[in-house]
């Protein structure tokens, strides 16, 4: 469920970074205001606990496969939503940095998908109402199951929307959603059962642990704040990605559409012409289909569209291969120099 950098466009990544950063600042302030000194080491060790718990597999009854805890909901139950969000953010950052699970540009997306929905949607809006005052063990288990399913469904939907809005894959929204949502329904059920099992054990062994969590302060205003934040994020994300993401050179693209491409009159100015010819020469491996169409139309009016000039393509490939060799060679030379200098010194 971790999104990789290679699938996220800068517009989508940036939008979700902004949303996650805003949530991080809000959560950090809220945690500081709660002024529970013991919370800081508690959060740290709980983060490590979730990391460890993610590596312990639970068997899925009736099948040969296994699943594990996601941790977001568990953290919210134990620490409260704001602290849980910060812990999830730190876990995802460490996973991105050390294990290449998800990337740095996609970190905002991952924090939002895996942290926000669990801590700020599923916990206050599903777990709390269903679990009630926490007196009934059955209701707590049911609440964990439902909240976990909701969190996973929203998170998976987030992945689908962000991936489609990034426009890097060819996946249609409906195809990808039909693929992701059922899988994450199953994952949500497993996570819910695992969370419920752990909560049930803790209730029996040491019930006071589950009581120390303070209720979210002034829940009405929180809900309003997050509703607004969510709406703003979706709006900004939608608008930005409309302009920018599926065609990263959105401006260039819309200019082409507006002016009808080659009719765009260049100022009769030698610098402009030089730049234009430089750009023509440098645009080789077809960036967008219409660019190659444009080049073809200019080069040879009569030729049909798909015949991309092979010569320029080949020079692109030769150049790419040469660049790779050069990069590797420079790498080895620098390394060799460094080690010989070290040996000499």
């Amino acid at each position: 469920m971790h999104m990789a950098d290679a699938l996220v466009s800068p517009a989508v990544g940036g939008t979700l970074w902004a949303a996650s950063a805003a949530l991080t600042f809000y959560s950090a302030r809220a945690v500081r205001r709660q002024a529970r000194e013991a919370l800081i080491p508690l959060m740290g060790v709980m983060g490590a606990f979730v990391f460890a718990a993610q590596m312990i597999n639970v068997a899925i009854p009736g099948t040969g496969s296994s699943g594990h805890l996601g941790g977001g909901l568990m953290l919210a139950i134990l620490l409260g939503p704001q602290a849980a969000f910060l812990v999830m953010a730190s876990i995802l950052a460490v996973q991105a940095l050390f294990f290449a699970d998800g990337g740095l540009l996609a970190l905002g997306c991952n924090i939002f998908n895996l942290g926000f929905f669990g801590a700020f949607v599923a916990y206050p809006l599903v777990y709390r109402p269903v679990a009630g005052d926490g007196a009934s063990a059955k209701r707590c288990s049911l609440a964990a199951l439902l909240a976990s399913i909701v969190a996973l469904q929203l998170g998976a939907l987030g992945v689908v929307i962000e991936t489609v809005a990034s426009g890097i894959t060819e996946l249609r929204f409906s195809t990808f959603a039909l693929l992701m949502q059922p899988i994450h329904l199953a994952v949500g059920v497993i996570e819910g059962l695992a969370t419920a099992a752990v909560i049930a054990f803790v209730r029996r062994a040491r019930p006071e642990v589950l009581l120390v969590v303070p209720w979210p302060v002034s829940r009405g205003s929180n809900r309003l704040l997050f509703g607004g934040l969510l709406a703003a994020t979706l709006l900004v994300g939608g608008v930005l990605s409309w302009f920018a993401s599926s065609h990263p050179d959105g401006l260039e693209w819309s200019i082409f559409k507006l002016t009808g491409g080659e009719e765009l009159a260049l100022p009769d100015d030698s610098l402009h012409q030089q730049l234009a010819s430089l750009q023509e020469r440098s645009a080789v491996l077809p960036d967008y289909s219409f660019q190659s169409a444009e080049a073809e139309a200019e080069a040879d009016e009569a030729q049909a569209w798909p015949a991309v000039s092979a010569g320029t393509t080949v020079s692109g490939m030769v150049g790419g291969a040469l660049t790779l060799c050069l990069a590797c060679a420079i790498g080895f030379i620098l390394r060799w120099q460094g080690s010989s200098r070290r040996a000499a010194g």
Partner: protein
Amino acid sequence: MRAESRWLELGQMDDAARMDSAVHRLDPRAKILVTLAFLVVVMSFSRYTLSALTPLLFYPLVLIALSRVPLLPLARKLVWAAPFALLVGAFNPLFDREPMLHLGGWTISGGWISFANIGIRFILTVSAALVLIATTGMHRLCAGMERLAVPRVLVAQMLFLYRYLFVVSGEGSRMVRAAQLRAGASALSLRVYGTLVGMLLLRSLDRAERVHQAMLARGFEGSLRRLDAHSFGWREAAFVLGWLSFFAVARVWNLATLLGSAAMRAGG
């Protein structure tokens, strides 16, 4: 067991970060900023770009070379992380069948080009992030983040998480091994799982309590202090400006094609 080999690799990253080189000595802020700029530049290319992306490989390769961090652990992580990105990208050749490229007798569809493009971007972005952590290490990275206005609570959280990662997961894997020796199954049944993970949770809570007591005994009053001697000097400025201008040049001009056509002209 996959989990244990993962911890081994975490240790390798730590070893790499403890090495000493010009790249290691740079202020972490400079490396964070250049890494983020690199990611944005890589991802801003269109999805049918291949050759123009290749010059950007210089960045991770030069940094790896200059810092002399071992290549193998980084490459192994790259391979491990690959499946999800490639799986999602693998739909491109299925859905995008428009011919884009003629090469000899072969016609290559846009889907295959964009699939290859995802592969290249994946290598670039993941290796940049790995190089950042391998040459900086968690402590210096967190210090740099704090000076870049990341909330202190989050920075403290990351340092704590990193500190107790090894301890708690060591405890967890010992408990799992004990359970496996007695029951023999690689995945635990739901009831055993609840008890085992719940037990791990209670032990972790106890540990957090002891850690807090120890911190109070040493005068902790709510925030961690950082000890870093880094400053943003001319080396850092040169590092940032140099790489940013390289990224800009590589973004505007297709360096690979320029080189390729020059080479072909020279070759006749």
